[in-house]
Symmetry: C2
Subunit: 383 residues, 2 copies
């Protein structure tokens, strides 16, 4: 499991004192090679945190030797000093690991608008650099948690190579990434072009298809590192497929642990004229607060599904729309369908199927309901 499942990686997680709770808050993953291929995708939020600005530059040459991740502070909206602090963090790691600072990715998560306590980061980096080991993946996964209630790890097995990953993020999960940090490692032999292409495809089909609350973070990062330690150079398609499975598994773990959620909602849009139509419709439903409240209340309110569909530009005829909730076709041809009292919403898993009847494409987005606990957690987060 996790980022040390693949050969060539060491990791650790320690307590640097960034979190008031005293829980682990600093993680390091080092790629011992023989190769040091890296690729990453970042938030598309134009207000991006200092570590994102830094890390974009790091990955441009396709080489990454290590990634350091802290929870307990996002280092976002922290101006020039914030960027200097990220740079300094990379230098500290580089010094300890004997690599170049320009090959060290930095990720931060936590509150926005506060500078990191660099003295604690400094001590923490020393500590975590000394602690990295080939079985430290679980500790790293724990150290990147914020409001997550469980650590998220995953492993996929290729033909002679391994793909392993960890993720954090329990809110602000939205397309174009989320308050989400993900590190995936592999001992496959990859070119940096292969790594980049595979990661973009995998992300598009996984993290971009979860949408917990429509909000988009300033810090999202998904990083892939390849050590080549297996000696196996996979075909790109096969590797992409396994990487996608790992990313989808991690994405589902994120949705399942989303802040305050009581239901995990799978929204399937069938019969879309094209993928973009399907995504637009699925996201409109996933972001409809009224529908999300209804699911929380155990109410199979298909009218709110239709009202959400109606706000999109997708191809459909409102008079022929069908909607099924947990297998019961509650809406037929845009009107009342089967008896809604037959819908059981007592389980955590809810499946909403919309039939656009406009084409052959099918798209799935995962989201959560809107609950008292969501309001509570997000109104009390920084206080």
């Amino acid at each position: 499991m996790s980022v040390t499942a693949a050969s060539g990686f060491r990791a650790a997680g320690v307590t640097a004192g960034l979190k008031p709770s005293g829980k682990p808050d600093l993680a390091l993953v080092v790629n011992d090679g023989p190769e040091h291929v890296g690729a990453a995708v970042f938030t598309s939020n134009r207000v991006e945190a200092a570590p994102v600005t830094w890390s974009r530059q790091v990955v441009t040459d396709g080489r990454v030797d290590a990634v350091v991740l802290n929870s307990g502070g996002a280092n976002a909206c922290t101006g020039a000093q914030g960027f200097l602090d990220t740079h300094r963090t990379a230098e500290l790691v580089a010094e300890a690991a004997g690599v170049s600072a320009g090959d060290v990715v930095v990720c931060s998560t936590g509150l926005i608008g506060e500078l990191l306590p660099m003295d604690r980061i400094e001590n923490g980096v020393t500590q975590v650099s000394g602690a990295v080991s080939a079985d430290g993946g679980a500790d790293a996964a724990e150290a990147i948690m914020t409001t997550d209630t469980v650590a998220k790890e995953c492993e996929g097995i290729g033909s002679g190579y391994v793909v392993g990953g960890m993720a954090k993020g329990a809110g602000m999960l939205a397309p174009s990434l989320a308050t989400m940090l993900v590190v995936v490692t592999t001992d496959a032999v990859l070119t940096s072009e292969q790594a980049d292409e595979a990661l973009r495809t995998a992300t598009r089909l996984s993290f971009d298809r979860i949408d917990s609350d429509g909000c988009q973070s300033t810090n999202d990062t998904v990083l892939l590192m390849a050590s080549g330690a297996s000696g196996v150079a996979p075909e790109t398609g096969e590797f992409t497929s396994i990487l996608t499975e790992v990313c989808q598994d991690l994405a589902l773990q994120l949705i399942t642990d989303a802040e305050g959620a009581a239901h995990d909602i799978e929204i399937v849009v069938n019969g879309a004229a094209n993928i973009n139509d399907g995504l637009e419709v699925a996201r409109a439903i996933a972001r409809n607060n009224l529908f999300k409240c209804a699911v929380f209340g155990g109410d199979p309110n298909w009218g709110r599904v239709l009202a959400a569909v109606g706000t999109t530009k997708a191809a459909f005829d409102a008079r022929t729309l069908d909607v099924a909730i947990n297998g019961v076709m509650v809406c037929r041809d845009g009107g009342v369908g089967d008896d809604r009292s037959g819908v059981d919403l007592s389980n955590r898993e809810v499946k909403v199927e919309v039939f656009l009847k406009a084409g052959e494409e099918s798209v799935t987005i995962f989201t959560n309901d809107l609950t008292h606990d969501y309001v509570h957690e997000n109104s009390a987060y920084s206080t």
Copy 2:
């Protein structure tokens, strides 16, 4: 006040038995002329209710003699039978009022996906037709309430003419209208072109600038009727100005009574390169659940404001953004500004100002916070 403030109008509100609560649920406003000019704007939701489909046709010739409005059922997603029911309702009103069914606007609000009990509508129309009077505006305003806690009425005085209005809608308030029914009457002498132009301008600057929860209803209607009874033909600009004031007053009444809200949030975007940029930024903030939860919790979380701004395509430089909350400049140049502990969020009114520094335009959108009560009301609405 209300729709009978202007000469030439009679109105009433009665209990037809559509609401389980037994409260008034059927309203009628009749234009006695001498002129019968009408204009309307409707929801842009492509899943539109039967009364919207009907009423769009009614207003195309610029003549409206009466409007009948029911709460207790939206008649949306009710298929061909729903449309027949709307048509029948118009015919019943036409018969009682001695007008043509093709000049009767119909509005419905309440639950989606259920047919109206036409026997009760029939009795109700008889009752309300007999009850209309020149001082029945307040009763009509009460009869269109759903989850509203207070009736919304307003009056504006022109040079020799009056503009009066009523509105309902306490949730699903979003641009391009909302679960919102609005009837505005005037005794000014207007051409149908003047009425249409004035109403579109007034709506764009009022109801399109409130966004309670980003959701968009299937039934929204804003109707303007002009009787010409004052004999005064105002200049279009003056009339538009007074109509806009009336609509803005009603829009603010809607936001102030939004479902479950604890704070009314005024979002002012200054220094936008153009109006569209300002609107995009203001709406991104208004629809950010995390920010809305923070306001509920009394937390001046400017980082969430910036994260919302960052999702837009508006012109700005993230390094120069300023944000003030209730007058305290908590964010300066994209980073930490004045002490956030100086922000007092104990009052219901909250003002968020964003300074884009990209131009000269300024835009204001009104929204609410996201609260436990919002979740409660919307999870329990149909159960």
